[in-house]
């Protein structure tokens, strides 16, 4: 593994190694010295073209716990906002000796492009509507910790699949790890070729709920309504929102996941968001361990 660009590039063994490594590294958070010397002298650049304090902070903390030097290079207030191309920025980072670049970009494929221009490892921290591999990995990690397995797990992913990099990465990864994925959304928010994906598709949440071990809700942006993807927030929420009543129809030990940020009252009710079956804060905590694992596996070796 030289870069982490897509979960589709991971074999089952590689994905499992990442999850196992994260499991060991999760214990570092419980120690008095929450730091390992592993990446001492290595430089990790957080290259963020989109605002995402959550993801950037998570990567930053992960890198720092491994003793890497971390540089935050955000699009705002840098030469990037003055029109410098991604390639020139990449060459600059290269000249500075970046061993790893964590990139968040609004353009699908930006991480792939970057990987052509730098020698160091490239970690895709979200590229447009393409993929968000570490999110999917931390989701799988959370499922495995909570439910003890991934093989055979029934996972429903609900919401704006069409524009979701989280959904794309999760479908690829969970399928590799042996889970059964069902995508649930109005047809307008599903890719046209979704029938060729390695998952099931449903337009009916109530039909899927009783058959799901995990329900992962995706954020639905209000602007999609203006673009006629669905008629109104009320109708969306009524058909695809998860409330307490629907939660009650899920299997006893089934969990509710959300990559955040949540829109309470839209895809998830406050009651569900605050329920112990909802893993949102666990996902955040697991994100640090998982990103440590990825940084270690990409930058720790030769």
């Amino acid at each position: 593994m030289r870069h982490l660009l897509s979960t589709g590039d991971l074999s089952r063994d590689e994905a499992t190694l990442i999850l196992d490594t994260a499991e060991e590294l999760a214990r570092v958070g419980d120690r008095s010295v929450k730091k390992l010397p592993t990446l001492r002298g290595r430089t990790v650049v957080n290259l963020f073209y989109e605002d995402s304090t959550r993801t950037r902070t998570s990567f930053e903390l992960a890198a720092k716990r491994l003793s890497a030097d971390v540089i935050n290079f955000s699009a705002k207030g840098s030469s990037v906002s003055k029109g410098e191309s991604l390639k020139d920025t990449a060459l600059t980072l290269q000249a500075m000796g970046a061993d790893g670049v964590v990139i968040r970009h609004s353009a699908s494929g930006a991480a792939h492009r970057l990987a052509n221009w730098v020698d160091g490892a490239v970690l895709n921290a979200g590229d447009g509507t393409h993929e968000h591999p570490t999110q999917a990995l931390l989701d799988a990690f959370t499922m495995r910790s909570r439910l003890g397995r991934l093989e055979g797990l029934r996972v429903a992913i609900v919401g704006d699949i069409l524009h979701s990099r989280v959904a794309r990465s999760n479908v690829l990864l969970l399928t590799t790890l042996g889970a059964h994925v069902t995508l649930v959304a109005p047809p307008t928010l599903l890719p046209v070729s979704v029938h060729t994906w390695s998952c099931e598709v449903s337009y009916d949440l109530d039909d899927v709920l009783p058959k799901s071990d995990v329900v992962m809700l995706l954020r639905v942006q209000a602007e999609r309504m203006q673009e006629s993807f669905f008629p109104s927030e009320r109708e969306y929420s009524r058909r695809f929102g998860l409330d307490g009543e629907r939660l009650g129809r899920m299997p006893q030990d089934a969990i509710v996941m959300h990559p955040g940020p949540m829109v309470r009252g839209m895809e998830i009710s406050a009651e569900v968001a605050d329920s112990p079956r909802c893993t949102v804060t666990e996902q955040v905590a697991n994100g640090v361990s998982l990103r440590m694992a990825v940084l270690y596996l990409l930058l720790g070796g030769s």
Partner: protein, 433 residues
């Protein structure tokens, strides 16, 4: 400007792939044809054994970028590129800066072409002012100008307003003109980045659905038939479009259509690299579309091959996919790509290639003196092509100012050895003169 006006005796070329003969080019015409011709005094002899002779190619769809984007291409560099590809006439698209929507701009481009002298440059006039799709540009003035414009197009942008399209189709009838439509329904393609389908869904790139092309073609065919005008469809890229054009021709619509070399050979799977060298509009489609386009070109549903040569400077392509410019250079690889996709596959003979790359495009563009065949007395616009000279494509080695070729790294089967424009070599031994 090539300066040699000596007669040229071409020895042993195979006209349209037929039996070898000698051709004597003199005073701008083919003056003799037959086996074992004697070389007149002062004649340059060109050994053409094994080479195929075709009438000089005519491109109905070229972007020369001048005026406005001389960093990407100029009329001079673009026409040299055309000569290297075997072209003796090209149509320069109107989406320059300023837009070719007045007699002044089209005459400027036409004059630049004459000064360069590597091929005849026929400007295309914009259908609407500034390509804005709001009101007709001065089509009559452009038709009457020294450039004698006959092809009108807002290429790059679709004339999507049905009423405006109807008016344009009607108006050009007065000048024996043709409207060349870039068929792309704008609402269905907002933000579109590549062909909509399995690959775009996987890559998370907004899709350009086939129906956005097909819907406009269907509408325009019906409009053209209703008002009795000529319609030309640019760069047809989908199987559905081929079906619709076949249907329109069957019901008597006066429609012609073109396909680009890249749509005959490449598919959207290439986009998986996210390398914008594969970004083009209309986008690369699926293998099924490629198959249908080849069949359509073979059976005459698609009339011609046009390059849509679209040079871009390196910085417009060395970027993330979504900000990259759309377009590919194509003049210098067109004939070889057509050989690979159509001739070597048995779909077209060389005579049919000549029709689709010279005769018919000249007829659609009303280009006098081109696309006339290789008989004695015809203008000496000739290309000599070696179909057994595999070339590894390298954008940096091309005559075009921009290297954005999607065929780079591929080996194509043949190369142009010589091009003659009215008897004067613009290319000899594969080198620009």
């Amino acid at each position: 400007m090539p300066d040699t006006h000596a007669p040229h005796l071409i020895r042993g070329a195979r006209p349209l792939g037929g039996d070898p003969v000698d051709l004597l080019l003199s005073e701008g015409r083919i003056t003799e044809a037959g086996p074992g011709l004697a070389a007149p005094e002062g004649a340059e002899v060109v050994d053409a054994a094994g080479l195929i002779a075709l009438p000089g190619l005519v491109d109905l769809h070229t972007h020369l970028r001048e005026p406005g984007r001389e960093d990407a291409e100029t009329v001079a560099t673009g026409s040299r590129s055309a000569a290297m590809g075997g072209y003796t006439a090209v149509h320069a698209m109107a989406n320059t800066d300023p837009v070719a929507d007045t007699a002044g701009v089209v005459e400027q481009v036409w004059r630049l072409g004459r000064e360069a002298g590597y091929c005849d440059v026929r400007p295309v006039g914009a259908v609407t002012v500034g390509l804005a799709g709001e009101r007709l540009s001065e089509i009559g003035a452009m038709a009457d100008s020294a450039a004698r414009v006959r092809v009108f197009s807002d290429d790059g942008i679709c004339v999507s307003d049905a009423l405006l399209m109807r008016r344009a189709l009607e108006y050009v009838k007065a000048f024996d003109g043709v409207v060349a439509q870039h068929a792309q329904e704008p609402r269905l393609t907002e933000g579109a980045q590549m062909n909509e389908g399995r690959v775009s869904d996987r890559l998370g790139l907004p899709g350009w659905p086939a129906v956005a092309e097909e819907a406009i073609i269907a509408r325009d065919c019906l409009l053209a038939q209703h008002v009795g005008s000529r319609l030309h469809v640019c760069h047809v890229s989908t199987k559905g479009s081929v079906d619709i054009i076949r249907w329109a021709k069957a019901r008597g619509c006066d429609v012609t259509a073109e396909v680009t070399p890249h749509h005959l050979l490449l598919t959207d799977e290439l986009v998986e690299s996210y390398d914008p060298v594969y970004k083009v509009n209309p986008p690369l489609r699926t293998a099924e579309d490629v198959r249908a386009l080849r069949e359509g070109l073979a059976d005459g549903t698609i009339d011609i091959v046009a390059t849509d040569h679209a040079p871009h400077p390196a910085e417009a392509k060395e970027t993330e996919w979504s900000t990259a410019a759309m377009g590919m250079v194509g003049l210098e690889t067109a004939l070889s790509v057509v050989q690979e996709a159509m001739v070597d596959t048995g779909l077209l003979t060389w005579a049919e290639v000549a029709e689709r790359m010279s005769t018919v495009p000249a007829r659609i563009g009303r280009v006098d003196g081109h696309g006339r065949g290789l008989a004695v007395g015809e203008p000496a616009n000739v290309v000599l092509y070696d179909p057994a000279a595999p070339v590894a494509v390298d954008g940096a080695a091309m005559a075009t100012k921009s290297g954005n070729t999607p065929f780079r790294g591929m080996t194509l089967p043949g190369r142009v050895q010589a091009t003659f424009l009215r008897g004067v070599p613009t290319v000899l031994e594969g080198e620009i003169k």
